[in-house]
Amino acid sequence: MGILLLLALWQALTSVVARSSLPTPLSVAIRIRQDFIHADQLSFYGLNTGLLDSMAYTATNVAAAVLMGAVVGAPLGLVTARFRLLRALVDPVLMTAGTIPIIVLAPFFLIWFGVDRISAMLLVAIFVTVILYVFAQRAADNIDPVYEESAYTLGASRARVVRDVLLPGTVPQILGGIRIALAGAWGLEAIAELMGAQYGIGKIVQLLAGATDVEGIFAALLVLGVVAVACDGLAAWVVARLAVWNQPARTGAE
């Protein structure tokens, strides 16, 4: 429904705005089909790919970055929530890293790691790490101490308390954090590619912007948007599956 409304609005706008600044939905759709496997306009710049391959490149980077960030950020957030000294050490480092704009960070990464995918991946991974660190830490802070106390009085070891209380009790918030990180990661990955990359949706946008090929840019961004929305839907589904117990109560009668 919302998509139809958006399309209608877009179509309506094309009648007032010049074609060169706003292409019609139909022309963009046709352009996506044309460029999907191999884009002629791009081979002109020496880029022998299409939207599909570029999207795959970008998606792989985002997935790898979210994975890296989750593996580092979430456990670090949980651990620091329980050990004050470690928290005092890690907090300032990650909080500082989190406030540096990606535009400032990107040139350094390009110098250090080159224009390969590793640069963009690490840039996005840092952002994801910070988000998940904060989410996991907050989740561990907020979990009611009564659960841990109860587990200890029932005979649980420290390791079991982490496995049976701390992890499951924080999973919904951490998964929520992964969804937010994922949503932001698409944009950041595209920016990182704009700043310097050899492939990817961001690279296409950068090249076509040089040629003011608005239609081509729209086509690339639309593909990115559709994939991002689809991934968010998938993530939401996984979140709901992994934390079944956390659904709103259906009944509560005795």
Partner: protein, 259 residues
């Protein structure tokens, strides 16, 4: 019935408030509780009764003095002292039967055996029909039943209950008193579990306790035996001996002038 189960000697606990002031939650508490006794700790809020319970559980270390349970000094929480908390402590991420089995699984009891024990205690508290449910699907009273079943299933011979039924409505509370007393009484005399039950509700203490210990400002100020027969009916609570105890308790709580 003469063996001492819980022995507190010169127990004290103080902590520093955020404004820097030193607060004494408990000072020089001496208390001996015999095996199989049902003891209620009663007192106005802030009198230290919850602190005393947490020290017995091993959740809070004493600032001074000693706490000995089963002849051993308490240094950490453990499965020999089961605890039912004021707040809901049932894990929302485990189904009801998994919650009841949790303590047993921590102690390495085989799956078939712990499923049997859990099913048995869920039946005792009248919750067999929701064994496979998620805790969010239960009412507050049902969650308390799960918590009670969990500590009983775990086999602790000392049970510590911290105002467990404080937030429940009157009917549910009375039903849970019956559940608790039935489970407590099922062991033959001498093998009964020892119960320490914190409450601020005078009537609740009189229905449940063999002995009521009154705390005020971190000290034991009275220690009353409740000899009435069980089950304690409405009429039993109106016997002269019981009414006298009620007057004493209300006086300690500052609700009646001393006579």
């Amino acid at each position: 019935m003469s063996d001492v189960k819980i022995e507190a000697s010169a127990l004290s606990r103080s902590y520093r408030r955020a404004d820097g002031a030193e607060v004494k939650a408990l000072s020089a508490v001496d208390l001996r509780i015999e095996a199989g006794q049902f003891v209620c700790l009663v007192g106005p809020s802030g009198c230290g009764k919850t602190t005393l319970l947490q020290i017995i559980a091993g959740l809070v270390p004493p600032s001074g003095g000693n706490i000995v349970v089963n002849g051993q000094r308490v240094t950490a929480p453990g499965p020999s002292r089961g605890m039912v908390f004021q707040k809901d402590s049932v894990f929302p991420w485990m189904r009801v039967h998994a919650n009841v089995e949790y303590g047993l699984s921590c102690r390495g009891v085989a799956k078939a055996e712990r499923q049997k024990v859990a099913a048995q205690y869920l039946e005792r508290v009248g919750l067999s029909h929701v064994a496979g449910a998620w805790p969010r699907e239960l009412s507050g009273g049902m969650l308390k039943r799960v918590a009670v079943a969990t500590v009983f299933a775990n086999g602790a011979d000392v049970l510590l209950l911290d105002e467990p039924f404080g937030a429940l409505d009157y009917v549910t509370k009375r039903q849970l008193h019956d559940v608790l007393l039935t489970l407590w009484a099922e062991g033959e005399a001498g093998r009964r579990r020892t119960v320490v039950f914190v409450t601020h509700d005078v009537d609740e203490a009189m229905i449940l306790a063999d002995r009521i210990v009154v705390l005020r400002a971190g000290r034991v100020v009275d220690d009353l035996a409740v000899a009435a027969d069980r089950p304690r009916t409405t009429d039993a609570l109106l016997l002269p001996g019981m009414v006298r105890i009620k007057h004493i308790l209300l006086t300690h709580l500052g609700l009646e002038a001393a006579r």
